[in-house]
């Protein structure tokens, strides 16, 4: 039998797509600059079907790219030529939610937000909250090790999953980790989390659920000096406070967000901090008072605690709308995703401002300050001669700044196809060789998501960045933060 006949025999003819008009829907993820219409799309309906599909493709030496909801920002699920695109969206059931054991066992196509929704009646929640949480799948979250606004306190995906079931390249089912978060042998959940579909296909995830905090408060502090604002971030942490979220925006981002969302930000400020504290009622009162004292002592020009949940949502709305808001200021922008040690924030922000001058391109900064995870947005006009190249060069220099400051070229968006170039700046040849060796240990023929996540040594020359064309954001209906 041919590949298609065998695949149809396993998942049913209706779940194997080959017509161009059907396959075109899967040509890219959230990074729309990279597109390729897949040759074959397979939509399995169970973990057993995933095993069978993998075993067929393995036997026929056909590459497989796994895909969840396709909201990734680095081209991790970009189809490959001659390969099968394995779409896990039909595996969308919450298999078990056990409040007393504070865990949920779910299929990979379940959306991030629906887990917290299902847990809400028990006053529990799933902590990682990537901006695309309304649409992104938990399988994709594990593959990308997704973050979110609240990971400063609650950790990223890796800290909130207990067990994963993975189908290997030859169709074997592996159970990694365990409900208690401990397991005999090597820490393979850690290795598979964030491995971008290169080592196995995730077919089930057991996540940890946490009790909802008794009280949440949000304070907004604005400053007339960005360096002072950046220092306040460190001072809050140094005071022994771990906010649930600690987000920063610079002047251009504040103005753009306020114009877009009418959220009442002080538009004459050079920088602002949104600091959310949560916990028991007494703890929150104590922390709120101390955060406000730190901001006041640093000379905050504006300080406001949201009066209620409604005002909290309004204060957050500007931050969450910041990417599309900046998208209105210029025809195009590049979004970078570097992370730096927190103490380097003031000087790296200063250096980014200098690069903005040097390249003659405005840059807005809106980012997860508490984790040191920067998202500089470089504005440009692809219609003007050489602006695209200048923006790319500027982005490359920003990632170099992050690596030189002791940081990383990707804090939460992943490498995918987008950051294969910058990976070469961060890792030397011996480490890259070891990554390839780890890949071979799971997938000797290189059939799983080939060409992603780890650059070949030959490739180590280019640079790339998330490119947004014509101000049109991929998944524009999703808040981006």
């Amino acid at each position: 039998m041919s590949l298609l006949q065998e695949l149809r025999a396993v998942v049913g003819a209706g779940s194997v797509l080959t017509a161009r008009e059907a396959c075109v829907a899967f040509e890219c993820d959230g990074l729309t600059a990279y597109r390729r219409v897949p040759d074959v799309v397979v939509l399995p309906g169970s973990a057993a079907e995933v095993q069978a599909v993998m075993s067929i493709c393995h036997r026929m030496h056909v590459p497989v790219v796994a895909r969840g909801s396709g909201t990734g920002l680095s081209g991790g699920s970009l189809p490959v030529a001659g390969g099968v695109l394995l779409v896990l969206a039909r595996l969308n059931q919450i298999l078990e939610l056990h409040p007393r054991r504070r865990m949920a066992r779910v299929q990979p196509g379940v959306t991030n937000l629906s887990i917290s929704k299902a847990a809400a009646p028990y006053n529990l929640f799933y902590a990682p909250d990537p901006s695309s949480q309304i649409a992104c799948s938990i399988g994709g979250n594990v593959a990308e090790n997704s973050g979110g606004v609240h990971c400063l306190k609650y950790g990223i995906t890796q800290h909130n999953i207990l067990e994963i079931k993975v189908v290997t390249v030859d169709g074997e089912l592996l159970v990694l980790g365990g409900e208690v978060g401990e397991a005999p042998g090597y820490a393979l959940t850690a290795l598979l989390t964030g491995s971008e579909g290169m080592l196995g296909v995730i077919v089930e995830v057991t996540v940890k659920l946490l009790p909802r905090p008794a009280r949440v408060e949000l304070v907004l502090g604005a400053f007339d000096d960005i360096a002072v604002c950046a220092r306040v971030v460190g001072e809050i942490i140094a005071a022994g406070i771990i906010p649930a979220g600690l987000e920063m925006m610079d002047g251009p981002a504040i103005c753009a967000a306020d114009a877009f969302a009418q959220c009442g930000y002080p538009t004459n400020a050079q920088a602002l901090l949104l600091c959310e504290v949560d916990g028991s009622s007494a703890d929150v009162a104590d922390q709120l008072e101390r955060v406000m004292a730190i901001m006041r002592n640093a000379g905050a020009m504006y300080l406001r605690v949201a009066a209620d949940a409604h005002e909290q949502a309004r204060m957050w709305s500007g931050r969450k709308a910041a990417f599309p808001a900046v998208g209105r200021l210029a025809p195009d922008y590049y979004c970078m995703d570097g992370t730096i040690p927190r103490r380097r924030l003031p000087d790296v922000l200063r250096d980014i401002a200098a690069l903005s001058e040097e390249f003659g391109l405005p840059i807005a900064n809106v980012f997860h300050a508490g984790d040191g995870n920067l998202h500089p947005l470089i504005m440009f006009d692809a219609g003007k001669a050489d602006e695209l190249q200048r923006a790319e060069a500027c982005g490359g220099r920003i990632l170099e700044l992050c690596v030189a400051a002791g940081g990383t070229v990707t804090g939460e968006h992943g490498v995918g196809v987008e950051k294969l170039g910058p990976m070469c700046k961060q890792f030397a040849q011996p480490e890259l060789e070891m990554f390839h060796a780890v890949k071979r240990a799971f997938d000797p023929e290189g059939l799983l998501n080939p060409g992603k996540a780890v650059p070949t040594l030959a490739r180590c020359a280019d640079y790339g960045a998330m490119r947004v064309t014509g101000g049109a954001l991929p998944f524009a209906h999703l808040p981006r933060f």
Binding site: G178, P184, Y186, A282
Partner: protein
């Protein structure tokens, strides 16, 4: 000992690889009892020590793996911070490397997560003597496979740990321990009732018909929770938790075999004669069998958990729960990848790793 011995260690590993000489990595030897017996030339990390970088504001500490835990904990305490996973020392010289290789966490584990959650980056020597650096010193980093956390708990079978960067946290301002006399069955229910609520409970333990709960947080939060829970205050709470962590509590006094069980939090006690101490809201249990109890692995697996022989009775005892063959195959491939000649702590984890 403030010294970087990377070059000497790499040279030792390279010559051992060339001669196919097995090596037994050693810090202070405080956890030499843990795992299967290894026969190899000792490779001491004790000359490779010292804190490389620590900025309290950053919540990150980087140190060489031969650094004594006491030195790290003292540096953190001076800035009001700590290692949140409360690693047991099991000896005065316990090192950072041994702590990470064994991945043992103390009473706070249920509240804060496992040891590997606090590892941001590791520098490691492969079995061929190559020095590799994975991860970094920042909180969020998704570039490349997470090799640094793979090393945690691998008992030195995938690499010689050289340096590590850890996420550290502020020490809670205030601490209070409450006690409640009750049976194990009642305690398991109570612990998990509490775990559903946003309470500042950082540790629970049941031993000798008493449930212990430790509250940690701001003074106000601890006082608020104390009222809510209404137990008897234990004056020597800090000493109690130290004794649980270090196994100096009378429960651990007997020299007999000791099993460490990981099970779903509310599962019933193991159906076998012996004494039990419960931690981590029921997810970790220590079991001292009354007889030879050779089938603890199997009994524990039947109830959905797994067991490790924490203190083995004989040198050739199998220590860790057996793995299914497909999973074992992945382990063997990874071992070959990092240590192709099989010279790093061979057999410490499983016979063929």
């Amino acid at each position: 000992m403030e010294r970087d011995a990377t070059d000497e260690l790499a040279a030792r590993v390279r010559s051992a690889a060339a001669a196919r000489t097995p090596l037994e990595t050693r810090g202070s030897g405080s956890k030499a009892f843990y795992g299967r017996a290894v026969h190899g030339e000792p490779l001491s990390l004790q000359q490779h020590g010292g804190i490389i970088d620590y900025d309290p504001q950053e919540l990150v500490l980087t140190a060489r793996c031969g650094t004594p835990l006491t030195e790290i904990e003292a540096a953190l305490a001076a800035s009001g911070q700590h290692l949140p996973f409360e690693p047991p020392h099991f000896g005065p010289g316990a090192t950072l490397g041994g702590t990470l290789a064994c991945a043992l966490a103390g009473p706070a584990r249920a509240a804060v997560g496992p040891v590997r959650d606090f590892v941001l980056g590791i520098r490691v020597l492969t079995g061929e003597g190559r020095v590799l650096q994975f991860g970094g010193r920042v909180m969020k980093n998704v570039a490349g496979y997470d090799v640094s956390r793979l090393m945690v708990g691998a008992l030195g079978t995938l690499g010689v740990l050289l340096d590590a960067s850890l996420k550290v946290l502020p020490r809670p301002q205030c601490e209070l321990t409450l006690t409640f006399p009750m049976s194990a069955r009642e305690a398991l229910v109570r612990m998990n009732d509490w775990a559903l609520l946003p309470l500042p409970i950082s540790a629970t333990c049941w031993v000798e018909e008493t449930l212990y709960a430790r509250l940690q947080g701001s003074a106000a939060a601890v006082a608020e929770a104390q009222q809510q829970l209404d137990g008897a205050e234990l004056a020597a709470g800090t000493f109690f938790w130290a004794a649980i962590r270090e196994h100096t509590h009378p429960f651990f006094a007997s020299a007999g075999p000791l099993w460490r069980l990981h099970v779903a939090a509310e599962s019933a006690l193991l159906d076998a004669p012996g004494r039990t101490l419960i931690e981590w809201n029921g997810a970790q249990r220590w079991f001292a069998p009354a007889d030879a109890a050779e089938d603890v692995h199997r009994r524990c697996a039947r109830s959905g958990g797994f067991a490790n022989r924490f203190r083995r009775a004989r040198a050739n005892d199998e220590v860790f729960a057996p793995l299914p063959e497909p999973l074992m195959r992945v382990h063997r491939e990874l071992k070959r990848t990092f240590d192709p000649h099989g010279i790093l702590n061979p057999g410490r984890l499983y016979a063929d790793l």
